[in-house]
Symmetry: C2
Subunit: 127 residues, 2 copies
């Protein structure tokens, strides 16, 4: 009867916010991939705390292809070279679109959450 760890109801498949999170971080300052990774892991936004490096770097490259980001390779005095990313104008427009999308999405999920909560109260209250 117990619900498994990987059942979708645990919410493990509900994270689709890597892109807006990246755009948000880069709207404040330019950052390279690894810095974005660390920022996301410390973020108060839980959705990206367990971000996977492979996924992040792949997403950055994809966003650059989509012209949301531009990068420049930066060779440091010490340590390996790294790609510093910044927002393009299109990236900024994308972030503004996200603002509305997230607002609408949030309201929508809110309605579903309330309906589910109501259904649960009606039936079996959790003791």
């Amino acid at each position: 009867m117990a619900i498994e760890e990987k059942c979708p109801c645990r919410g493990s498949f509900l994270d689709r916010f890597l892109q807006p999170s990246i755009l948000l971080l880069l709207s404040r300052e330019e950052l390279h991939g690894f810095a974005i990774l660390k920022r996301l892991r410390e973020a108060d936004f839980e959705g990206c705390q367990r971000v996977d490096p492979t996924g992040l770097y792949r997403t950055l490259r994809k966003m650059e292809q989509a012209e949301l980001l531009r990068s420049k390779r930066e060779t440091q005095r010490s340590g390996p070279a790294r790609d510093v990313y910044g927002l393009t104008e299109k990236g900024n427009a994308c972030l503004r679109t996200w603002a509305g999308t997230l607002r609408a999405y949030c309201d929508d999920v809110e309605r579903l959450a309330e309906a589910v909560a109501a259904a649960c109260q009606d039936s079996e209250p959790p003791v």
Copy 2:
């Protein structure tokens, strides 16, 4: 500069709520696949309005395999046979877990939405 139709910021990839929606519907009454399809299309919850039949039926079978649903084949006096689905006890437990998950998720998205909105106001207000 314009954002494409299929850019993630439009929100087209933000629908991960087919399973809780199905559980919610079935917590009220038993239904067969096609009825679930129609209910979802009329639902006030936007996330599932454009649900695809293939995806729905596949999800139903998967949920049955995961023992969240049970089905019985029902031959009607008129029309093709159909599979009527109902919640199992595990399905009920899953729905209760969803209640908490959706609540937490909603709060999380809310925070991100506000941060993005704030970032957009700081930079370029949309004219």
